[in-house]
């Protein structure tokens, strides 16, 4: 493989965005979870909700911070590695990203301060208002980022000026491009799923150690309820999103399903090894006659295969094909886990079902994996375009050398390995300790570690009550 500047710039963006997406996909759901917990505490005054809030708010703050840091890097990359893209598309993309900062990021950052430092100072109701505002902010953030990305997937409402730059002619068409609603729904549900799986895993881990732990019993039930509802909904949203891909990006659909030939009555490929050079799938297991049905069209409808497009426009078929199958496979496992959990709760045996608890722990990271796999489908499937049909990736890169990009990529890899490993391990350590130490009151003499302080999860003498 020839590591030229374009490939390295793509690898760098893929590396940084794969790290970044982990955090917002977690914090979007977690902010709403915190709002629900605080709302339940306000209405019932049950300590279990307060304790869960205090436990998860710390993890939210750390994740939010790491999300900000990893997000800032990407906006600079647009300038350093993708200056041609920025030069051409900034009049359209720039305002969308600026709206995200002004309407979402500042909302989140401002009221996160109240969430963390002001519960006694502002009182319970104003504090709850702050939590709700932060939760709303995370959705507004997703709205603008998905809007910008959806416009790149299917650009509408713009014109190209004589100097090659783009200008918006209809902002509503830019913001609400045709694939946007389905993608926003798909991503928002993915965030809820990711969070509920993490909360479920953390709670199951505690219950494996102590099945009577009240906070974890409550959180497990809330998490199971959430992913039991959201996982099937995600299947519907994913199908709806797939329909927009069929309509607006038939080449991407052909890569996702490894449709090599244009034909009616496409088969449904389950697994196999797509071979881009030979234009066929090796060792394929397929079900004939249901491909069109799954795409929601009649058997007679002709679905475009890769042979309808110039070969130089084909994305990396194997990567798109397998990323999609990983995402869907994990989604099916989430539906199964949800059904299993609901059945156990209904039978009153969920806290004793060690097999289910271990499965829930094992499924904890799968939301993140599915989100990253989904983004690979979306982004690699769009190749060789950065703005579909308008600007090729090869024409988007900055006039910089492979050496410069490799040096910054190496620096990113080292820094990320240190910073995010430390942050990630700290979060895992907090999760492993569970909500119980939060209940500890500081010793009367003022020594020891206070509840909610960053060192509360450290292994020193937490007093359990």
């Amino acid at each position: 493989m020839d590591f030229d500047a374009i490939l390295l710039a793509r690898l760098q963006f893929a590396f940084t965005i794969a790290f970044h997406i982990i955090f917002p996909s977690f914090t979007i759901g977690l902010a709403s979870f915190l709002a629900v917990l605080e709302g339940l505490w306000l209405s019932t005054r049950r300590e279990v909700f307060r304790n869960l809030y205090l436990f998860w708010v710390k993890i939210f703050a750390l994740s939010f911070g790491m999300g900000v840091v990893s997000g800032v890097v990407m906006s600079y990359e647009l300038g350093t590695n993708w200056s041609e893209f920025s030069k051409m598309a900034a009049p359209v993309i720039g305002p969308l990203l600026a709206f995200e900062v002004l309407t979402a990021f500042f909302l989140e950052a401002s009221f996160l301060g109240v969430m963390l430092f002001g519960w006694k100072k502002v009182g319970p109701k104003l504090h709850f208002t702050a939590t709700v505002l932060v939760a709303i902010g995370t959705f507004i953030s997703a709205f603008w980022i998905l809007s910008a990305n959806s416009w790149m997937q299917h650009p509408t409402g713009y014109e190209m000026l004589a100097d090659g730059t783009l200008r918006a002619t209809d902002w509503m068409a830019v913001i609400f491009s045709p694939t946007f609603p389905a993608r926003l729904a798909h991503m928002s549900l993915a965030a809820f799923l990711t969070t509920s799986l993490v909360v479920g895993a953390a709670s199951a881990w505690q219950l494996l150690k102590d099945r009577t732990q009240p906070e974890s019993r409550m959180a497990l039930r809330m998490a199971v309820g959430m992913f039991a509802i959201v996982a099937p909904l995600q299947l519907v949203a994913g199908h709806y999103s797939g329909e927009t891909v069929r309509e607006h990006q038939p080449l991407k659909l052909a890569a996702i399903e490894a449709y090599w030939k244009t034909r009616p009555d496409q088969p449904q490929s389950l697994v196999g090894i797509p071979d881009r050079e030979a234009a066929k799938t090796h060792y394929e297991i397929e079900i004939p006659g249901i491909g069109n049905l799954i795409q929601g069209v009649s058997k007679d409808t002709v679905l475009q295969g890769l042979d309808s497009f110039p070969r130089e426009d084909w994305p990396v078929v194997g990567l798109v094909y397998w990323s999609f199958r990983i995402m869907v496979g994990l989604g099916m496992a989430m539906i199964g886990l949800g059904a299993w959990g609901v059945w156990l709760i209904w039978r009153g045996r969920v806290d004793d079902a060690r097999g289910f608890l271990w499965a829930t722990v094992a499924m904890g990271p799968t939301g993140f994996i599915a989100v990253i796999a989904g983004w690979i489908v979306a982004e690699v499937g769009r190749q060789p375009w950065t703005i579909y049909g308008v600007l090729r990736t090869a024409d988007s890169v900055s006039p910089v050398g492979a050496g410069q990009i490799s040096a910054s990529l190496l620096a990113f890899m080292i820094i990320y390995a240190i910073v995010f490993s430390a942050g990630g391990l700290y979060i895992l350590r907090l999760i492993a300790k569970g909500p119980a130490p939060i209940l500890a009151e500081p010793p009367p003499d003022g020594e020891g570690r206070a509840p909610g302080s960053p060192l509360a999860a450290a292994p020193a003498e937490p007093r359990e009550v």
Binding site: R45, K58, F111, W119, K120, K121, V122, G123, G452
Partner: protein, 48 residues
């Protein structure tokens, strides 16, 4: 060491007057916005 993440007031704790609570609410929000802006400008100054 005082708690960095402030816990809720206890059931017996008297609430401050509304104007004080609103003052804290706006004050903390503005201070947080200001802190974010300072970091943003510092980053910009570092790179430009």
């Amino acid at each position: 060491m005082p708690a960095i993440i402030e816990p809720p007031p206890g059931p017996d704790e008297a609430q401050r007057p509304l104007w004080k609570r609103l003052g804290w609410f706006l004050g903390i929000a503005l201070a947080s916005t200001l802190a974010t802006a300072v970091v943003a400008y510092a980053l910009k100054a570092l790179l430009v």
